[in-house]
């Protein structure tokens, strides 16, 4: 990331890839007159016509990804709905049934302890979804606060926050998370959330900062200032509403990555520890029986992939809808 974050008020650092870009558009007035298209311009397509077909959430992309996300949220909140009431990941286990292959009664088979694997996989959703959502929410709040402060006030506030970002950015994310996680010998969902959230904000802060810098110099903000509005009012009424949506979209796109990071860390033995139930733990346990009991590997992997894919698709659909220039 660019280190040259000197505070030239109003100019987003040109080298910041996260900065919102200004697509150079040709004003319609000076478009060439319509006629037979020149062969030299054949690789330049006209922008697709925007057809408005009713509410946003009825578009197929939203519908598909939204359904996946909603199902996963429901599964995380109320696993009983899917696994059957009265069932529990550790209920009715029989060690004699260890690693049994899928059968009509136990459609996902049995795990190493002889417990119903379907129930366990369903209950595994909670850890992943909780980590993904809470880490992203924390990162969003920190990014919004620090980013608007740095972008709006500039000067030493900006220098301080930008340097802090540089330092946090100087640490490779996974390594920093590993170092923090090792502080704890038994790691719950909240430990993992803490470790991941601790270093998840610098990208968002920078994004918000350049976004706010752009908004701050718009005419309506200057007009508001001339009419006597104070800093607090301008931030609350103009800056935040106009720069928060891009940040929200960016953060939504990150949920899948956080879920993936949690599962990866857990998988190599540095994330969640038993008795937590999570897909990362199930995958790690399944590794030793890769040829004897492949079902142990396949089912959590499918659930994890569908979840991450669902959140990524949802984030993409959000971005295309609310922040088309970020595509």
């Amino acid at each position: 990331m660019s280190q040259n974050t000197e505070t030239t008020p109003g100019t987003a650092p040109a080298t910041d890839p996260l900065a919102p870009t200004n697509p150079i558009t040709v004003p319609s007035g000076i478009r060439p007159p319509a006629g037979p298209p020149a062969p030299a311009a054949s690789f330049r397509r006209k922008p697709a016509k925007k057809v408005n077909r009713g509410p946003v959430w009825l578009k197929p992309r939203f519908l598909v990804s939204g359904t996946i996300v909603a199902l996963m949220l429901l599964m995380a909140a109320f696993p009983q709905l899917f696994a059957g009431f009265g069932s529990d990941p550790t209920a009715n286990c029989d060690i004699m049934n260890t690693n049994q292959a899928p059968s009509p009664e136990h459609i996902f088979g049995m795990d190493i302890q002889g417990c119903d694997y379907y129930t366990n996989v369903i209950y595994g959703a909670r850890a992943s979804i909780l980590v993904g959502i809470v880490v992203t929410a924390i990162s969003f709040v920190i990014s919004a606060l620090l980013g608007s402060l740095a972008g709006y006030f500039g000067g030493w506030v900006d220098t301080l926050i930008s340097r802090a970002c540089d330092m946090a950015f100087g640490l490779p994310f996974i390594l920093a998370a590993i170092v923090v996680l090792q502080l704890f010998s038994e790691r719950t969902v909240w430990t993992v959330i803490f470790a991941l959230a601790l270093f998840s904000w610098p990208g968002g802060v920078r994004f918000m900062r350049s976004s706010v810098m752009e908004v701050r110099n718009r005419e309506y903000v200057q007009a508001s200032r001339l009419l006597g509005a104070g800093n607090g009012r301008i931030i609350a009424k103009h800056i935040i509403p106009n720069s928060l949506t891009p940040l929200l979209v960016l953060q939504t796109l990150g949920i899948g990555g956080v879920i993936s990071a949690e599962a990866g860390l857990t998988f190599i033995g540095i994330g969640l520890t038993p008795p937590s139930v999570s897909w990362g733990l199930q995958l790690a346990a399944a590794r030793e029986y890769i040829s004897a009991a492949p079902h142990l590997l396949i089912f959590p992997a499918i659930f994890l992939t569908i979840t991450v894919l669902g959140f990524v698709l949802f984030g993409e659909a959000m971005r295309d809808e609310f922040d088309p220039k970020g595509k």
């Binding site: 640490l171 390594l175 590993i178 170092v179």
Partner: protein
């Protein structure tokens, strides 16, 4: 250019200090007594414990310890571990494996990401573009270690094309599978950035001029559009090279490769703070040096940013 270089190096100093301080503080906060971890089940006599604590400055205040460490670092001394081996030596021994993995992955990522990105960008809005986009979504949506596990099971265990783990087969053969997995995961971001950048540049006025003066589409694309579209891509590539060193940790663990990641995990389990801090410091330095090189390279590609 020289002044710019010097200024950039000076800007690195607080970042190095801050990042190493964070790592050092976190390691210092690790629970457990390092001497107890060293001796294991057989307790040492009190006098020996005292001697060890003295020799490693374990009783000094935290800031003094950190100051001593940074002074040593300036002289190229990363400290020694509890077996008396210099940490720098341990790191340098493992670094080639991690480096080879990260570089191979990076080159593969470059090829995959640029190919998809340029293809999508030139076919903006057409079927080819949507196809490229679908690819990147799939790459982004499947967690890297799930791809790794699948690839390991299929190509390593079932088909037996490569060793499922370890690096006995040597450079290209043992590294190709883990590197490909890392590359697939990372190429999505690159492909998108390339595509967006190319689409933006293709709309620019100077490209209209280039076309208007009668240049062939080929020269417009290769001579003008791609060159300008590559500016943000180069920054991203440079940054991601250092990032890949960090991301190699999980892949190394899955494929059981004797790199920095394995060393780090062992050191954390043994509470060998000096090794942990040494690795983190080394990675931070590598990261920042790459940042610097990218910024300087930037000036060569795009003379406008040269100050």
């Amino acid at each position: 250019m020289l002044g710019y270089t010097v200024r950039r190096i000076l800007q690195m100093v607080p970042v190095v200090l801050g990042a190493t301080f964070i790592i050092y503080a976190l390691t210092f906060l690790m629970p457990g007594d390092p001497v107890a971890a060293l001796t294991g089940s057989r307790p040492l006599p009190e006098s020996t414990v005292q001697q060890i604590r003295l020799a490693y400055h374990l009783d000094d205040p935290f800031l003094v310890q950190y100051g001593n460490y940074m002074l040593g670092l300036l002289q190229g001394n990363f400290g020694i571990d509890f077996f008396g081996r210099p940490v720098l030596g341990l790191i340098l021994e493992r670094l080639p494996v991690t480096f080879a993995l990260a570089m191979t992955a990076w080159v593969l990522k470059l090829a995959i990401g640029l190919a998809i990105g340029v293809y999508g960008g030139l076919r903006n809005g057409q079927a080819g573009d949507h196809f490229a986009l679908v690819f990147t979504v799939i790459f982004l949506g499947i967690p890297g270690f799930v791809i790794a596990l699948g690839a390991q099971t299929v190509f390593g265990v079932q088909l037996g094309w490569v060793d499922p783990a370890g690096i006995r087969a040597g450079w290209p053969l043992a590294f190709i599978l883990p590197a490909l997995v890392m590359a697939i995961e990372a190429s999505a971001g690159l492909a998108r950035l390339t595509r967006t950048s190319l689409v933006d540049v293709l709309r620019a006025e100077y490209l209209r001029t280039a076309r208007a003066k009668g240049l062939s589409p080929r020269r417009v694309v290769w001579g003008h559009a791609l060159r300008n579209a590559m500016i943000p891509v180069v920054t991203y590539l440079g940054l991601s090279l250092a990032g890949m060193l960090g991301g190699a940790v999980i892949i190394e663990a899955i494929f059981n490769m004797p790199g920095i990641g394995g060393l780090m995990v062992t050191a954390i389990n043994n509470k060998e703070g000096t090794v942990v801090v040494g690795i983190a410091t080394m990675l931070v330095l590598v990261y920042l040096v790459f940042n610097l090189l990218v910024d300087l390279l930037y000036g060569i590609i795009d003379p406008r940013v040269r100050i």
